[in-house]
Symmetry: C2
């Protein structure tokens, strides 16, 4: 289970803060990667020593070159390897001999090109293990440390980014070039910027761990094309409560997207909805695209966390104010209601025609003084948790003066201030003034509202209560016996009685039932159990009993039971001639109640997952379902339930009494315990669980368990 | 009803193509609106005569000024009035005397400042009517005609936009400045650009009608803060099948947003979901924000309409290809499956490591030749309906050469080609090459996919089948009698028996029922009707019968009916002491079936609206509801039903037989007829309508009608 966990030392200090670097494979041909790498390090302002290594050249860009790494007469912290893939192992071996503890392998031509490349990659791995070398890559763009203390661009990216507090980790090198260009244009600074490529050694979770403890990094951005290390991610972020915002963009949400990602990265990924759930559990904010990721990142990194969700909107144009209002509400924000003091100041400072209510409309001829009056009073109002300042370039608008004014006000604010200067070239200078000061700017007011909402979600995550995983007293050995019986036989699908017995042993509410082999026996059992009863086919070959007429409900007397038994057998035999029929279950009829579904599935990356949602026959149609990775805490359970419409139904609406929610919560926690106890359970479905009024309990109507064999 | 329809002549020729213009109120003070307007017209390249009118100046910017309009010795087509609002009426009166047939009133200080301004605006209206003058404004930015034949900037916008095929109509002047700036930056050209302000005379529907017939306009964009003229819009677009794409951005989606819009525009708006439905019926594409509006507009205007939804993606970076795939699927597109020919060409032209399947990954070192091979073969593949070309700025990427190549390929393409060059300053030149050639460019591949999907929706709208409004034989006079009885009494809420009678007279399936005044009578009625029966309180003071215990169902004998009657009376009296009880309805018990809700409501702007959705007690929780403006065609009915999850349930899933959908459709059409026949019906709810299997009919279980009094 722990095969993915990297137990080797991670020499991050040598990767990010090397005192000396060898560029192994440097050349003199401009426009090639080996040359770009060397000149990038030279030009970036790196204060340490740089040694080019090149078997064919005496000097590289004027610097003395060494034939082999081992020829360098000085100590070397980091090797950046840019040789063709076929000779990388050789070069790395020499790095080991030279006691270099870290390497960035830029070269492509490894795992991503097939079995032959995989072999070369395995050689790197073996050498790294032998000499305890930490490796980034291969097949990556490289590493940038924008910390002004070192200014290291060990990548073939065209430009060095500005220094800032955002750490960026990317599985894709190609995307990095676009991201760096995008960020430079908007003065979005980075602390560290890493393209980790094929991750033969250091992986995204290792890097995440490093950035969590890196003082220069306030926010971490993660671009992934597959989540291969779900369990490591959970282990890292559960053990180390995440105070820094982590934003993730994961490509491959749809099945076509996942297929495209697989053909691109060659790696399998788990289900996207499980990834979504895990991110929520871990407080990772998921972005829909690159723009949204940076939109959120600048707000989270460069502005204070808001106390709550009450936004104030200030604008010189009514329309965008209305649009921002819509976007605020749609993203779960509230329009702040100003204090009497603020109202008084706004009324006094703004012209009669201005709207002093939120959204504050300063009117088209507003200049910096009106923005000043509005923003200053709002920033001091305790009823306001943050502000959005909108500008359109009208003929009277002194755009740059307003931008400078915003910078001044922002300096003294203790709540977030986001801006949207709408337009094109007219507003460019104003926007640059803001961006240079790291005041978050958004082309659309709507995007600003979305990002404000992201900061509110992060705040809620930070202040959510502690919650523990509960451990129930269960009959584990009884469940184990049943499961081992099936595994011994190589059978994956449990009969319903056995499934119910496992659930019974884990404390779930099950109905009274017996298995009849004959119609006569069914009739006699039904009398014992008490009318009305339900009949259900018991056969491991039948997965959807109702679909083939394998269920009869509400049978009120022996005659109906006898008839029902025969109908079921006839139906099943007619539709599944080869079905192995174990008998017919005669079960106590459950009273009608509210129906939910709950279950377990296994995610290839995150492991056991608990599922909850609206139950019944139409579960696939309605798809009102939430997931959480096990083990789940009480808080996880509450959050996952509230994601579904089912929760409102259970809470009792329109005169309905609330249902026994406490019991449902406990059932989900018991499911989580069962999932953790038995990794052999591949899939478990309880559908429906019928729930009665508060304190009146619940009943499992139907359950399925599939084992992994 | 027709008070909103503007029957006056509309002198659009004089507004958009005047041969001579008087600028009434021009001044010499730079930086003021009156001066800006004059110099804008002068500088824009307008080839006609311009006469400044200024009581206080002999010349304006060097041109001879006239004291009054009537002093101009030449004929004048258009007056642009920039006087303070207090003297505008006087100026307009003189325009009338001078026989000027069109005026743009830029000045603010009218309706938007309150009753005094409203009075001034009414004066304008009266003069316009007297002299048959068409007016744009007041309180607007003005009018721009970018047609190269005239090049008229009769606005105080800082810059003249480029010529293009997009017509833009805006309720907000302030937003226009941002839009013009935004569009100029991206080389998005306009045909006509109008800020229509307070619309004292010419309104948005008039302008829409003009642009629909304007040869220079291919696509129409509409920014609105309220829909006041829903009925006119329907009349225009139903009578004149809309071949041009119309995109609308309507601010005020949420209740807070609507409140903000009202305080801003001073006008009431209908419900946003009705607006949404009407837009769908009329083929108007609704945009979420300014960016989305222009994103869609450039695809719809400057590219051919795609045959269908099969997109091909070409990229030099895997990650963005995956993201574009996700976005394609999420927006209802399909990834095209290439023909054998295309596959062959791609395999031959691309390196071995490239992915020749869709999304095509040309690999990071791709130069223009690879893009050429991929785009050319794809453009000839009949399995492809359109292409998205993605670029990231990698070290080998010849960005500008690729942009030029795209321009060349696009010229010969008969299907849409959209592009996304990702990054910042590195890709700027490439993007500009594309934009100058009107090849749609998107900062995000995801946005390109959304816009491609918008063109597919438009194509589907264009090719949707003809459909008519059916007229059923109904007993209209019986319904009229009942409605008039209530209106005569000033009563708005119909008793259930009366509501059912109206529905009966319109051919709806209702259950057998009688009204009992006593328990004994109820028992005897129930025997006549046949057991089991349902009992329901009949009282115009009780709106939600179940909520107060006013319903008993499934009563199987006289004893249960007698008891039920008493319980209902007790419950109602206990909870609503002053309820006026008309009796208890004894009704045939409907068999269980699938439950839907349908009804009528009135929208202040669009008029009668038909509603359909999932029925039952939880209708407000689930909110699975669709609307259409009446009268509705068979196609409208099918489309509205398919918007709900209810439709899938009715179609029969997981072994269920399909329900009597044909009857449901007919019921909705009958509702539409009822809504059109009786504008007095303010609200009608049938909840639930229980539907049985195909051919087996349906039953109304409960119905409410409220009249407008």
């Amino acid at each position: 289970m722990c095969s993915n966990i990297n137990m080797k030392t991670k020499n991050f200090e040598q990767i990010f803060y090397p005192t000396s670097i060898a560029v192994v494979g440097a050349t003199n041909t401009p426009g090639t990667v080996p040359n770009d790498i060397f000149t990038n390090i030279m030009r970036s302002g790196y204060p340490g020593s740089i040694y080019p290594v090149s078997p064919g050249h005496a000097t590289i860009s004027g610097a003395k070159a060494y034939k082999y790494v081992v020829d360098i007469p000085y100590p070397v912290d980091l090797a950046v390897i840019v040789f063709p893939s076929s000779v990388c192992a050789l070069a790395l071996e020499q790095c080991g001999q030279k006691r270099i503890k870290a390497a960035i392998v830029i070269s492509a031509g490894f795992k991503e090109i097939g079995p032959k490349g995989k072999e070369l990659e395995d050689q790197l791995k073996a050498i790294a293990d032998k000499y305890d070398i930490s490796i980034i890559g291969p097949n990556c763009l490289g590493v940038i440390n924008a910390d002004s203390a070192i200014q290291l661009n060990a990548s073939f990216a065209r430009k060095m980014p500005e220094e800032g507090a955002i750490g960026f980790l990317s599985q894709s090198g190609a995307l990095c070039t676009a991201v760096l260009d995008y960020a430079l244009n908007k003065h979005i600074g980075f602390s560290k910027f890493v393209s980790f490529g094929n991750k033969v050694d250091i992986n995204e979770v290792d890097l995440l761990q490093y950035l969590l403890s890196d003082k220069k990094t306030k926010t971490i951005l993660l671009y992934l094309e597959e989540i291969g290390l779900g369990k490591n991610l959970i282990q890292l972020l559960k053990g180390n409560p995440n105070k820094k915002p982590i934003l993730a963009l994961k490509a491959g949400r749809t099945s076509d997207g996942i297929a495209a990602a697989q053909s691109h990265t060659g790696s399998l990924s788990g289900s996207d909805e499980v990834c979504d759930a895990a991110f929520k559990q871990l407080g990772i904010i998921r972005a829909k695209n690159i723009e949204e990721m940076f939109n959120h990142a600048i707000a989270l990194t460069y502005q204070p966390v808001p106390k709550s969700n009450r936004i104030a909107i200030v604008t010189n144009a009514g329309g965008p104010g209305v649009m921002a209002t819509d976007a605020s509400i749609e993203n779960g924000l509230e329009l702040a209601k100003f204090s009497p003091d603020t109202n008084k100041i706004l009324k006094k400072s703004l012209p009669r025609m201005a709207n002093t209510k939120n959204p504050v409309d300063l009117i088209g001829d507003a200049r910096a003084d009106r923005y000043d009056a509005a923003l200053t009073s709002i920033s001091r109002d305790d009823n306001v948790d943050g502000a959005l300042c909108i500008l359109t370039p009208q003929s009277m608008t002194d755009i740059e003066a307003i931008a400078h004014l915003i910078c001044r006000v922002e300096k003294e604010m203790t709540k977030p201030l986001l801006c949207s200067f709408m337009g094109g070239s007219d507003v460019l200078n104003g926007i640059e003034i803001l961006q240079k000061r790291h005041i978050p700017h958004y082309a659309l007011p709507e995007s600003a509202c979305q990002s404000f909402a992201a900061t509110v979600r992060h705040k809620r995550w930070l202040s959510r209560p502690q919650s523990k995983v509960r451990n129930f007293k269960v009959n584990r050995s009884r469940a184990k016996e049943i499961i081992e019986k099936y595994l011994g036989r190589g059978q994956s699908y449990l009969s319903e009685p056995d499934a119910l017995e496992i659930l019974d042993s884990y404390g779930f509410p099950i109905l009274n039932y017996k298995i009849a082999k004959t119609a006569k026996q069914a009739a006699s059992f039904s009398e014992e159990i008490g009318f009305p009863v339900a009949l259900k086919i018991s056969s491991s070959s039948v997965l959807h009993k109702s679909d083939i007429g394998g269920v009869r409900i509400n049978l009120k007397n022996k005659k109906e039971v006898t008839q029902g038994f025969k109908q079921i057998i006839d139906n099943v035999q007619a539709q599944k001639r080869d079905a192995q029929i174990l008998g017919v279950i005669v079960e106590e009829m459950a009273l009608p109640g509210k129906e939910v579904i709950m279950g377990i599935k296994r995610d290839p990356s995150f492991g056991p997952v608990v599922m909850f949602g609206s139950g019944g026959v139409y579960v696939e149609l309605i798809r009102d379902i939430a997931f959480r990775v096990a083990p789940i805490t009480e808080l996880d359970v509450q959050e996952m339930m509230k994601e579904t419409r089912s929760y409102v139904l259970l809470s009792g609406i329109r005169g309905d009494r609330p249902a026994d929610i406490v019991l449902v919560e406990e059932c989900l926690e018991r499911l989580s315990q069962l999932a953790m106890d038995f990794p052999q359970i591949n899939e478990l479905d309880i559908n429906p669980l019928v729930i009665y009024a508060k304190g009146k309990g619940a009943n499992i109507i139907d359950a399925k368990i599939m084992l992994k064999i």
